[in-house]
Amino acid sequence: MTKSTKNPILAFFSSVQLALFLLFVLAATSIIGTIIPQNSPASFYAKQYGPQMARFFELLKLTDMYNSWWFLLLLLLFAINLIVCSIDRIPQVIRIIKKDNLAISPERLQKMSLSSSFTWHTTIEMSVDRVHAILTNERWKTTQRDNEQGTLFFAEKGPWTRFGVYVVHISILIILLGAVIGSSMIAKKVLHKPSFAFKGSVMIPETRESEVIYSFKSGQPIDLGFTVRCDFFDIEYYSNGMPKTYLSKVTVLENDQEILSTDIEVNAPLTYKGVTFYQSSYQPYQDFVVSLQNNRTNKQIKRVVPPAKQLEWQEGGISFGIINQEAKGKVTQRVKVWLTDNQGDPSTFWVNMGQEAMIERPSGTYTFNAKQLYATGLQVTKDPGVWLVYWGCILMLVGLYIAFFMSHRKLFVFIQQKGKNTEIIVAGNTNKNKIGFEKTFNRLATRFEATDE
């Protein structure tokens, strides 16, 4: 490392001191946002903390601090720090890996932290063969070179593991990049294209459809480029009354063509053309979804019916309406229906929500089914950066594993003539896990020692 030739600005941005400082400041300031509630209405802060504090919060953007200019600036500095540091150091790593290890002198080998020497009572040619055989047997891929003093073998394992740390660092940059690409703020303010990345929601009553969703932050409508229809919404409960499933059956349409129909549940979203729909809420209405079928003709209708209103089914010659209901809170249990085919007295009957009733009329039998109308609340997001974030995460775990648990191990064996015998010097070093490598080395050294009969 030649510190003196370095540009001071580069030196500053590549320093680990800066990294430590930034990590500390990021950790410390992050605490603020866990104490002051974020993104509440301005009136909340005035009431909770007093007007003066509220103004102070506003000044430092503490009410949305993770999106504030100063927090984003810290993250930017952090990213620059990582980039400069990596650019600064990766060439050094490459140099270490590319080093000509066979140029090393026997004296240096003897000074290595792991080093031992033996005498073999055999010729140098025999020794070279033996060393080669042992190392190959222990799965070390060797290179060798003869010099005026003797023959040097070199073998190494995992030189590339020196990049593990940089895999981790680069993975952080990839995650940050993914977050930037997926940011709705950047899509809106920098790209001026809110439909590129957004987070929003939409409420769709059953049987209705929507082509837009509404952005969380601004409430602005955003065009989906296709249509989503809610066909059905249902809540299932456990026997103790806790909710078990929220389920929406939805259909995607383009140019009035049904493209696909599917179920959305919590933890089972639908993704279509990069837009993901999550089950997030619901709302019960006063109205009902009624389906009515003439069992003779098999003709059928499905209508949204407000209570206490008479509806006509022209084709079937039927008039009907909902004239009474029983509810628990906002959830209707059963309804009383009035129905006639204009022949004889009208029928009136109670039917439970979601169950079928068969009605005998002079004109035939009819199947009647009513359920309370719900709207499904879908959270809708488009995040074109999420795949980068996911790849970054995988890379980070792989990099951490390499950085922590793998090492670059080097092994040298030098063979030289000593009178009628040969002298063998075995030496090795590693950049990590010294204890583990020492065991390997000692086992190998013992094997070398034992080889001479």
Binding site: V16, Q17, A19, L20, L23, F24, L26, A27, S30, I31, G33, T34, I35, P37, Q38, Y66, A179, K199, Y238, N240, M242, P243, K244, T245, Y246, E265, V266, N267, P269, T276, Y278, Q279, S280, Q379, V380, T381, D383, V386, V389, Y390, C393, M396, L397, L400, Y401, F404
Partner: protein
């Protein structure tokens, strides 16, 4: 025998194990230490069966799910991870006395789960948001990390205790002379933090993936998420300070303790002092 009874036995075993390890620490009698280890191992075995049993019981109730879904179950699991990680370390590195400082964590968390009236020990069905395999991956990875960090914090504490007495340079053997060499404690602390950091990273990642599957945002800066990243930063500082600035000894010992305080706040503090998505802990 049901799972609560098994956890009761585990609790007693961990308490006795703590006592025996403490006795080993005070009287330096090897046999006592061996009994402490047997008690810890026996407790761990019974606890493992208990966790399996609770899982089975949930299926018998018709709401089967892994027992990792509320504060009670997570405390039990934290205790299990800590005991498991400690025993692994004791066997691998022959550092028995450390149990006197680690087993109390395993004991306290299972005892707190059993006796606190803030904690509901019923097996309840899963609300829709928790019905995800990512939940299991998330809890398991986080808690392996937390277990390791609990051990690292204890090691930091032991280091400071011993370093404090050694500074006085008394030639006579002190109470703390039976603890491993400072160098060894220091090395174990580092290894433990490295291991925990790996799992904490995996825990944050699996949590982010789950959040994205359930809510459509992998990161929303809710207090629990924020505290987990704060914890992650603390350990990242520790690793860099050691690896690139050569920190060691007392400084790393302090960072190991600060790190565990952050873990503790991520796990408990957030549930009890702050509000957010992860509110299951308050039930």
């Amino acid at each position: 025998m049901n799972s609560s009874q098994l956890f009761g036995i585990t609790m007693i075993a961990y308490l006795l194990s703590t006592a025996f390890y403490l006795a080993l620490f005070l009287f330096k009698n090897k046999k006592i230490g061996f009994i402490g280890m047997l008690l810890a191992a026996g407790g761990l075995l019974i606890q493992t069966i208990g966790i399996g049993m609770r899982w089975y019981e949930s299926y018998q109730m018709g709401i089967g799910h892994a027992p990792l879904t509320n504060m009670y179950e997570s405390l039990i699991f934290f205790s299990w991870c800590t005991a498991l990680f400690y025993l692994f370390m004791e066997i691998k590195y022959k550092a028995r006395i450390i149990g006197a400082f680690v087993m109390p964590f395993a004991f306290v968390s299972i005892a707190y789960a059993s006796f606190s009236d803030r904690i509901n020990d019923q097996i309840s069905p899963l609300i829709p948001a928790l019905q995800s395999n990512w939940l299991i991956a998330h809890v398991v990875t986080c808690f392996i990390g937390y277990g390791a960090f609990a051990v690292a914090g204890s090691l930091g504490f032991i280091y400071l205790l011993k370093a404090g007495t050694e500074q006085k340079r008394t030639a006579a053997p002190t109470l703390f002379s039976s603890l491993p060499e400072l160098k060894i404690i220091d090395d174990l602390t580092h290894k433990t933090i490295v291991f925990g950091f790996m799992w904490l990273s995996a825990g944050i990642i699996t949590g982010a993936i789950w959040a994205n599957e359930a809510w459509g945002t992998y990161w929303s800066w809710d207090p629990k998420e924020t505290w987990s990243i704060i914890t992650w930063f603390v350990y990242a500082i520790t690793l860099h300070a050691r690896f690139t600035r050569g920190w060691g000894g007392k400084r790393i010992a302090w960072l190991a303790i600060i790190g565990f305080v952050a873990v503790f706040f991520t796990y408990f503090g957030v549930n009890f002092f702050l509000s957010g998505l992860h509110s299951y802990g308050s039930s």
